[in-house]
């Protein structure tokens, strides 16, 4: 049972947490990161290649870990977070305390639990998997269906758990479309003769080079795109999956039989940190993520030393998470400067002297 004081405590060792740590400790602040999993890196531990340039998640993870010297405590299960006169105190299950004037929440997101979309058959039919499961197969360099065979025809279903009032999440997760395209290209590279069909409502490809990925997938890799939302899956006698949808551009209902269905699950808020934070309700948006989505995060004013960065403030790609983390790190830096330093002047320059204690 120990108590250690830092300038900033970061909850979450994902891309956002690591980026913020690297900026803050280069500026001379003392930082520590608390991570709930056994190893740091967040979702970088489960991705194989990252969009849009197919960069290796493993390599990025190592790069980010190397970028910060801050101590990472993992696994840590937080028991309570309390506000003190000087800032925040995070207590873990072993009664160890981590205290700091600034607290950064970078807990990230939770992939949508596809079992909740029961009509899609996840957890019921063996050949229905999610994009997260597929990424796991990529990491093991082995993509096979439930019978152990290489699939000949694969369907990608967009908007699973996003833009859907029936699961209580009407927001768009903004990154699943590009994930689907990226995974389709990876599959085509791995299994050249495979047929891939993507079922979408809209293709949301707002990031840089995303449209190029889309065009490449169509022209070079012959991935098919059919506009129409999947209504239900059913299984044939040989465990292949039959899909029911409308080809909305043709204006007629349609069906297709595939060997494997990949559900592109959305990015959902991770509620496990919510009940631990003091007086948090006004800072949570109607979609369950932190913040209100305003320009320059004006609503996340830093008078109280509580900051949020990364996917926990809304669905984001890794590029966006690290960018936001850099911005928030600067905001933390300014906050700490004000709180911990006194400004003074001598004949040559302006100086900032740190308070003691």
């Amino acid at each position: 049972m120990k108590k250690i004081c830092y300038d900033c405590v970061i909850v979450g060792a994902g891309p956002a947490g690591l980026k913020a740590a690297s900026i803050l400790d280069k500026q001379g602040y003392t930082v520590c990161i608390l991570e709930k999993e056994k190893i740091p890196g967040g979702k970088l531990n489960i991705w194989h290649e990252l969009f849009p340039h197919h960069e290796s998640a493993q390599a990025i993870r190592e790069q980010m870990l190397a970028g910060t010297a801050a101590p990472i405590h993992s696994p840590v299960t937080i028991k309570s977070i309390s506000r003190t006169a000087d800032g925040y105190c995070v207590k873990d299950r072993n009664e160890d305390e981590y205290c700091a004037p600034a607290l950064l929440i970078a807990t990230g997101f939770k992939p949508f639990d596809a079992c909740r979309k029961e009509e899609y058959g996840y957890g019921i039919y063996e050949n229905v998997i999610t994009s997260v499961d597929l990424e796991q197969m990529f990491r093991q360099h082995r993509v096979v269906n439930a019978s152990g065979e290489v699939p000949g025809k694969i369907a990608f279903i967009h908007c699973v758990g996003s833009r859907d009032i029936k699961v209580g999440s009407e927001f768009c997760s903004a990154n699943c479309c590009i994930t689907g395209i990226k995974q389709a290209i990876e599959l085509k590279k791995m299994i050249p003769h495979v047929n891939i069909c993507c079922f979408y409502m809209d293709l949301r490809l707002g990031g840089r080079f995303f449209e190029d990925c889309y065009k490449t997938s169509q022209v070079k890799y012959k991935v098919q795109y059919i506009r129409g939302r999947l209504s239900e899956t059913n299984e044939n006698t040989d465990q292949s999956v039959i899909l029911r949808y409308e080809d909305t551009l043709a204006g007629r209902p349609a069906k297709i039989t595939v060997d494997m269905v990949v559900l592109l699950v959305g990015m959902h808020p991770d509620p496990s940190i919510l009940h631990l934070l003091p007086e948090i309700d006004e800072r949570v948006g109607s979609d369950g993520f932190f913040g209100k989505g305003k320009i320059d995060q004006a609503d996340q004013s830093s008078d109280d030393g509580l900051f949020f960065a990364g996917a926990c403030t809304g669905p984001k790609s890794i590029i966006q998470s690290t960018d936001e983390a850099s911005a928030v790190a600067c905001r933390i830096s300014l906050y700490l400067k004000e709180k911990l330093y006194t400004e003074t002047e001598d004949q040559h320059a302006r100086l900032w002297i740190r308070h003691s204690g």
Partner: protein, 113 residues
């Protein structure tokens, strides 16, 4: 057989398991048609779509879905003005594609390019 007064109707469901050989053949000759994103700019600018109801977007869709009869009817309307080619944002050689489609359905002699 007794006269029931009603019968079993055909299914309107498109079977996407069925391949479209004509699409594959046209794709061979004009690989850029794979880039069609069904934006509809071609149909909007098409001179004959006012009468036929079918611009190039629809032709590609009918070709992919194997609705060959409807496609053949629509193909007769094309005046080969080339406006769809000018406007396509994906750079598809639409005019060539239509010529190839017509060839597939023997609407033209093989010597036309």
């Amino acid at each position: 057989m007794p006269d029931f007064g009603f019968g079993i109707q055909d299914d309107l469901m498109i079977d996407h398991d069925r391949l479209s050989p004509a699409y594959e053949a046209v794709l061979e000759e004009v690989p850029s048609i794979a880039g069609c994103m069904s934006c509809g700019s071609c149909s909007a600018t098409c001179v004959s779509s006012f009468q036929s109801g079918a611009g190039f977007r629809k032709l590609i869709m009918l070709l992919k879905n194997g609705s060959y009869e409807q496609l053949q009817q629509a193909l007769d309307y094309c005046q080969f003005c080339g406006k769809c080619l000018l406007v396509c944002p994906r750079g598809i050689n639409t005019r060539r594609a239509i010529l190839e489609m017509r060839k597939q359905f023997k609407k033209q002699g093989d010597d036309m390019v």
